[in-house]
Symmetry: C2
Amino acid sequence: MIANAMKADTRANHDLTRNQALVFGVLEGSEAPLSAYSILDQLREDGLRAPLQVYRALEKLVDFGLVHRLESLNAFVACNHPSGPEAGESHGTVAFAICEKCDNVAEFADPDFVERLRGWAKAEGFEPHSTIIELRGLCEGCCVA
Amino acid sequence: MIANAMKADTRANHDLTRNQALVFGVLEGSEAPLSAYSILDQLREDGLRAPLQVYRALEKLVDFGLVHRLESLNAFVACNHPSGPEAGESHGTVAFAICEKCDNVAEFADPDFVERLRGWAKAEGFEPHSTIIELRGLCEGCCVA
DNA sequence: GACGTAATGTTATACAATAACATTATTGCG
DNA sequence: CGCAATAATGTTATTGTATAACATTACGTC
């Protein structure tokens, strides 16, 4: 209940437009990450017709921190990291563990970890503005099976 | 000279086919990462005509550890990490720092860093078979300018 | 030389993302 | 309120990325 309230609140805070809300709804209701085109397919009956309508909504949702893009899959997931979107780290660096069997995605943020990465970047004189960390493999359930 | 000798040796060890050698040659000669299609464009006069010829060569080269795929760019670079391809870590986890201004790519491997990532994965019961780490930002030169 | 395997060539197609332009809401402000 | 600025939308066309399917050719090995 609290979680749902927070989610609704999160949406409200960002005052999602119709298309954004539709796209976010589809992602929230999906276990697995979805491509822009499969999102579109699920929204045809709601009036969406062109990829661009989905891509535009996704761009905003990613900006808001409500959705993540998985670079290695060309797909998107609703943000769901353990600490919740209300934590200060909403827009911080996050790592993803992507199961290649069941498509489940686990999300985590380790401050020390990120610190180490920043340390290396600084030593190299590199100024990062975004960081992508994606593990591909098998999740606990699929590992055993 | 030594470096060149080693590179030649590396190629020889893997007994590259004609197409693989052509593709690898183009990547070696490029500062910036290249897309499969721009590699193709540079190899038309050598007889290559279809994307698949490039993608097939790239797949092998990535398997051999001679080439890396940058997921966030849909592009490829010749392997060039500091320790050199002859080090034991050829196929280990590598991180990339991609300059968005000059397209330069720095490659590095930090064992402690990787260890920490593996530790988290293990705690989660996740069994990774590949790890993607890509920093996007500005390199030292472009940062100042 | 016959067989299994790997690499190649070719055409067509699927999937992902953006360009360009016209139109409609929304918001803020005088 | 009315108007201007800004943001969101709709639509068509195009560009870019990657693979399917199938025929052919080279290569190693027994």
